[in-house]
C-alpha cells in the first residue's frame, strides 16, 4: 500500500525502515494505543492490574508520554536501546501483581497477558488502517504482523508467543474476545471517567474552564468513537450501545488523521510534535532541534493565553508556597487518584523516577526498596485503622511523621542513582535527566541547571515531600503530568 511496505529491511524488523518505527512516530499511533488499551482493560488480568496499580486515570498525560517514549525506544535504531527498554518493561511489569476483587491472581508479566497486549496493538493498527481507507494488502499485513511478533519476542524472549501465521492469529484474536474478555471495571473507568475527567495537559493547566469546555464535547466523542470501533460481540457484552452516527464519525476521525499524515508536513503529524505541544516536560528522543522553534512558539502562545485570560486575583490555596496537607495528599501522594494512599501510589512514584533515569536493575531495586521501606514506615505511623491504606484524613492528622528516616533514605538513594558520574554533585546534565527539562525551558523552580551537593539535594527533596513546599521540578514530575 501507499506508505506501507518499503522493501529491503527484512534483516531488522523493528529498525528505522520498519512500518512499526514509522507508525510509532505518527500522531495516529495515539488512536491505536487508546483503542488498544480498552481491549486490554477488558482482559481480566490486565483490567485488575489497571484498576489497582495504574495511574492512568489520575495522570493520563504522564502515562501517554511514558508509553510513547517506551514504544519509540522499542523500535530504536540502536539494538542496545531496545534491549534495555525491554528489560526495563519486564522489571516494571514483574512488580505489578496481586489479586482482583474476586480473589483471582493477576500478574502483568504473565506471558498470556503480554501476548494479548501486543495482539491488541496489532489488531488496532490494522483496524485503524482499514477505517482510514488504507487497507493493508496481504504482504503488508504479513510484514506488519512479523514486526509485532518481533516486538513481543524482544519483550518476552522465552515467554508467550503470538500464533505463527496471520490466519491463526485471527482465530486466536476472536477466541480471546469471545472467551476471555469480560465486562471489567477498568473498561468503564477508561471510557466513562478517563475521557470525561481527563485533566488538562500541562499547557492548559492554568485554564481549567477552557479545558473543561473543550473536554465536554471531545470526551464523549472520543469515547463513542472508540466504542464504535470495538468488535460487536464485545460491545454487547460490555453493555455499550453504539450511538447512531458514531460509525461515520469514527471513519471521519481515522480518515482525517490518515489524510493529515499524508498531506500535512511531516513535522506536524509527528507524535513528538503533538506531545511537545501538550506537555512541555516531554523531550523527544530525536529531532529535538527541529521542534525547538515550534516549542518556543507554543510556549509563547501558552504564556499569552495565561496572561490575557482572567486570572484568580484572590490568593487561593495554590497561591501559597506551602500547600495544605489535603492538597499535597491529592496532588502528589495519591498517584492512582482513588482517594487512598496505598503501595501502588508509592510504586508509581518509584516507577516514574526509574523511567526517567533509565535505571539498571540494581539501582531500580534499591529505589523500590527505599520506597517500600517508606511505605512500611507510613503504614506503621499513619494507618490508624489498620485497613492497609491511608486516607487523606489519616495523613492530615499526622503529617509531621512524613520526614522519618525512610524518607531521608529515599532522598539519598535518589541522589546516588541520579549522580551517574559519582562525583557527589548533581550537575546540570544529571539534573536534567531526572527532571527532564527540555531545551531552554525554564521550569520556574530554579532547581534545574544548578549544581547540588548531597546535603542540598536531600534538603530540597525533603522540603518537597515533608515540608509540602511547592517545587517547580518535583511538581512537574509527580503532581502535574
Amino acid at each position: 500500500m501507499s506508505d506501507a511496505a518499503p522493501a529491503g529491511t527484512d534483516a531488522d524488523p523493528l529498525g528505522p525502515g520498519s512500518m512499526l518505527h514509522r507508525l510509532t512516530h505518527q500522531t495516529r499511533w495515539g488512536l491505536v494505543a487508546t483503542r488498544a488499551i480498552v481491549l486490554e482493560a477488558a482482559h481480566p488480568q490486565i483490567g485488575a492490574a489497571l484498576i489497582t496499580n495504574s495511574t492512568f486515570v489520575a495522570h493520563p498525560w504522564r502515562r501517554l508520554r511514558n508509553t510513547v517514549l517506551s514504544a519509540q525506544r522499542m523500535v530504536d535504531p540502536d539494538s542496545e536501546v531496545r534491549r534495555r527498554e525491554a528489560a526495563r518493561l519486564n522489571r516494571l511489569h514483574a512488580r505489578i501483581t496481586g489479586t482482583d476483587a474476586e480473589n483471582r491472581p493477576f500478574n502483568a508479566a504473565d506471558p498470556e497477558v503480554r501476548a494479548w497486549v501486543v495482539a491488541t496493538l496489532f489488531e488496532s493498527t490494522v483496524t485503524m488502517y482499514r477505517l482510514s481507507g488504507e487497507s493493508l494488502d496481504g504482504p503488508a499485513l504479513d510484514r506488519l504482523y512479523a514486526e509485532f511478533q518481533a516486538f513481543l519476542a524482544l519483550m518476552d524472549p522465552y515467554g508467550g508467543k503470538l500464533p505463527p501465521t496471520l490466519r491463526e492469529f485471527w482465530r486466536y484474536y476472536t477466541s480471546v474476545v469471545e472467551e476471555r474478555l469480560e465486562n471489567t471495571e477498568a473498561v468503564h473507568v477508561i471510557l466513562d471517567r478517563l475521557f470525561a475527567q481527563v485533566p488538562a495537559p500541562p499547557l492548559l493547566r492554568d485554564r481549567p474552564a477552557v479545558w473543561a469546555a473543550g473536554r465536554a464535547i471531545a470526551g464523549p466523542t472520543a469515547s463513542a468513537i472508540i466504542v464504535a470501533s470495538l468488535p460487536e460481540s464485545l460491545r454487547a457484552r460490555l453493555g455499550l450501545a453504539e450511538v447512531p452516527g458514531t460509525r461515520t464519525l469514527m471513519h471521519a476521525a481515522c480518515l482525517s488523521t490518515s489524510l493529515a499524515t499524508r498531506l500535512l508536513p511531516e513535522s506536524w503529524t509527528r507524535l513528538d510534535t503533538v506531545m511537545t505541544m501538550l506537555d512541555p516536560g516531554y523531550t523527544p528522543q530525536r529531532g529535538g532541534e527541529a521542534l525547538a522553534g515550534l516549542r518556543r512558539g507554543m510556549a509563547k502562545a501558552g504564556a499569552l493565553l495565561r496572561l490575557i485570560t482572567p486570572g484568580q486575583e484572590t490568593a487561593a490555596a495554590g497561591d501559597s508556597a506551602v500547600r495544605s496537607a489535603s492538597r499535597f495528599f491529592s496532588e502528589v501522594l495519591d498517584q492512582t487518584g482513588d482517594g487512598h494512599l496505598r503501595w501502588p501510589d508509592l510504586a508509581a512514584m518509584a516507577r516514574e523516577i526509574a523511567t526517567r533515569l533509565d535505571l539498571d536493575t540494581q539501582d531500580e531495586d534499591r529505589l523500590f526498596a527505599a520506597f517500600a521501606d517508606w511505605w512500611r514506615e507510613l503504614q506503621k505511623e499513619l494507618d490508624t485503622d489498620g485497613d492497609g491504606r491511608i486516607t487523606g484524613g489519616e495523613y492530615a492528622a499526622a503529617a509531621a511523621a512524613m520526614a522519618g528516616p525512610a524518607l531521608i533514605r529515599i532522598a539519598e538513594v535518589l541522589f546516588d542513582v541520579t549522580d551517574t558520574d559519582d562525583d557527589q554533585v548533581i550537575d546540570a546534565r544529571e539534573c536534567r535527566a531526572l527532571f527532564r527539562t527540555a531545551f531552554d525551558q525554564d521550569p520556574g523552580g530554579g532547581d534545574v541547571g544548578e549544581r547540588l551537593t548531597r546535603g542540598e539535594f536531600v534538603r530540597r527533596f525533603l522540603d518537597f515531600m515533608a515540608g509540602r513546599r511547592h517545587s517547580g521540578v518535583y511538581d512537574q514530575m509527580f503532581a502535574q503530568s
Binding site: 501558552g302 496572561l307 486570572g311 486575583e313 497561591d319 508556597a321 525554564d442 520556574g444 530554579g446 511547592h470
Partner: protein, 258 residues
C-alpha cells in the same frame, strides 16, 4: 525625543549613545509612601499611583529610543516592610503585569526580571513573571528589566560563588569574566540612573552595573513622575561630561532635572 535646543555638540562618544540618548537608563522609583502620606492615604495608594508613572516612563523611553530600561521595583530589603504592605505590593505588581503584558509585547519590548528568587513570591506571580518573560523574549526594540526582589550585593556574591564553584584560577578572574557571571550578562552598563523624590542613595541597586553611571535626583515623587520629567533627565544627562575616570573637565553646570 528630547527637544532639540541646538546643544547637540555636547554629545558623548559612547557606543549606542550617538544621539546623546543614554543606551541604558535605570530608575529607582522612590517616593510612593511619601506621596500617599502627603494625601493622608494608605501607603498602598502610593504604590497604586506608581503604575501610571511606570507606564508613562516605559512609553517615553521607548519613544526616545532608549535601548535598555531598568526599573527598581522591589529590593531584597523590602521584605522587611509590614506584611500587609508587601502583600498589597505583590498583588499590584501582578495586576499591572497582566494588564500591560499584551501592550508591552506589541510594542516590541522584551521584559526581563532581575532577582525573583525568594520563595515568598506567590507562585501565581512567579508564573506570570515567567510567562511575560517567555512571551516577550524574542522582542528587540527595547529591553525592560524589572529588578524585583533584587539586591546588587547578592548578585555579586552569587557571581563570586559560581567562579569558586567552577574552580576558576584567581589570575583568570577579570572584570569581564566576572561580569559574565552576573545575571543577564548581555545587559550593558547603566548610563543614567534616575532616583526620584530627591533621595541620594544607591540602596544596593545593580551595584556592578552602575559603576560609571550618571545619576540625577529629581525631587518629584515617583507617582508624579511623567514623560516630561523623564525627558528633562535625558536632557540633563546629555549636558553632562562623562569622563569614566579620565581627564578632568570643567565642573558640571547647567540646569539639573527638577
Amino acid at each position: 525625543m528630547a527637544a532639540n535646543d541646538g546643544s547637540d555638540h555636547v554629545l558623548l562618544p559612547e557606543a549606542g549613545d550617538v544621539r546623546g540618548v543614554p543606551h541604558h537608563v535605570a530608575c529607582v522609583m522612590d517616593g510612593n509612601g511619601r506621596w500617599a502620606a502627603q494625601r493622608s492615604l494608605p501607603r498602598v495608594e502610593g504604590h497604586r499611583a506608581a503604575e501610571t508613572a511606570v507606564i508613562d516612563v516605559i512609553e517615553a523611553a521607548h519613544t526616545a529610543g532608549v535601548g535598555w530600561l531598568s526599573l527598581y521595583a522591589f529590593s531584597t530589603e523590602n521584605w522587611r516592610r509590614p506584611a500587609a504592605e508587601v502583600d498589597d505590593l505583590l498583588r499590584l505588581v501582578r495586576r499591572a503585569l497582566r494588564k500591560h503584558a499584551l501592550s508591552l509585547h506589541t510594542r516590541g519590548i522584551r521584559c526581563r526580571f532581575l532577582g525573583v528568587t525568594d520563595p515568598r513570591i506567590p507562585p501565581a506571580l512567579a508564573r506570570d513573571i515567567a510567562d511575560l518573560t517567555t512571551l516577550t523574549r524574542d522582542n528587540r526594540r527595547m529591553t525592560l528589566t524589572v529588578a524585583f526582589d533584587h539586591g546588587g550585593r547578592r548578585d555579586i556574591v552569587e557571581a563570586a560563588r559560581s567562579l569558586i564553584r567552577d574552580g576558576v584560577p584567581p589570575e583568570q578572574v577579570t572584570e569581564e569574566s566576572f561580569a559574565r557571571r552576573l545575571p543577564h550578562p548581555d545587559m550593558p552598563e547603566v548610563d543614567l540612573v534616575i532616583r526620584t523624590s530627591g533621595e541620594q542613595r544607591i540602596s544596593n541597586f545593580m551595584l556592578w552595573q552602575v559603576a560609571y553611571a550618571e545619576w540625577v535626583f529629581p525631587r518629584v515623587l515617583w507617582p508624579d513622575f511623567r514623560a516630561g520629567h523623564f525627558w528633562e533627565c535625558l536632557e540633563t544627562y546629555r549636558r553632562r561630561d562623562r569622563r569614566f575616570g579620565g581627564v578632568q573637565a570643567p565642573a558640571l553646570t547647567g540646569k539639573e532635572c527638577r
